[in-house]
Symmetry: C2
Subunit: 172 residues, 2 copies
């Protein structure tokens, strides 16, 4: 039973999370230049490094991006010698993406640099606040997971049928 009151609070919170995420990323983007890696590239590289070799399609899905977009990101990373494209011997349509040792090194450095400012600020928190923020991040992560799930199941209860919706459905 969602009361009028708690619904408003949920809306306000959603709104704040939205703008907060925007501003956080705008701040962090400023550190990108230092590592020479943009956010999408850094994020993709991270998946490749930690997620082992995987196909371009899998990588695109993991990053919630369409294949053409990931093609370009990988091309950029490859040009910098951070990842390799490898032919899959079993299915030659696939191209496996693997991190090079340079990629692993750069990731460690770049990632550290990128989060440094954030981590510095986070370190100023007391233990209690840190725990609270960890909890908040955890909740937000679950929420995002549930949002993603919502997109592929139980669509019928959703009323509107915008372009975005149709496109989404088409590409499923």
């Amino acid at each position: 039973m969602t009361s009028r009151r708690s619904e408003e609070r949920a809306n306000a919170l959603a709104d704040k999370l939205h703008s907060t995420a925007i501003h956080l990323l705008r701040q962090l983007r400023k550190e990108d230049d230092a590592s020479g890696l943009s956010a999408p590239r850094l994020s993709a590289l991270s998946v490749v490094v930690f997620g082992g070799p995987l196909t371009l399609g899998q990588l695109a899905a993991a990053e919630q991006v369409k294949p053409p977009t990931m093609t370009r990101i990988v091309t950029g990373l490859e040009k910098d010698g951070l990842v390799q494209r490898l032919d899959d011997p079993h299915d030659r349509r696939l191209t496996q993406i693997r991190a090079t040792s340079k990629g692993r090194n750069v990731l460690a450095a770049g990632r550290a640099r990128r989060v440094e400012r954030l981590a510095t600020a986070v370190r100023r928190l007391g233990a209690t606040e840190l725990a609270e923020l960890v909890r908040g991040a955890q909740l937000l992560e679950e929420i995002i997971r549930s949002m993603r799930a919502e997109r592929t199941e139980g669509r019928s209860h959703r009323a509107r049928d915008s372009d975005a919706e149709r496109r989404q459905r088409r590409t499923m």
Copy 2:
């Protein structure tokens, strides 16, 4: 006294906040098509609506963006009839940006639509969890504020001197 242990936790948290923000915005971006307003435009419009009339430069600063970028965003909003450019009678170099009534209406609708998915997910939380998330958002907001402040003061303790740093300093 920052222990080795808590430093690691801070790094891990910073890392998680980073990727979480990326994924949250990627999800929300999918709703943009529905409102016809991209995230930067929606955000700028929001500032104009709630922050009253303000100059383009102030708007750019508020959105942490360079003036040329804001010029284009405002041009787009103006083309859609959501904001107006007004000459300042006291200083004719300035252009005041003001929201139209259409802009106010569209903001309400678009903003609601954009956060709808997020709000829906948020509403599934229990009261306790909601409070926890509110607290987390609040902490994160403060952290971002402190990050921004750090950029303009006490720069000396920062060791590296990258292109990004230099550019930042130059444009201060």
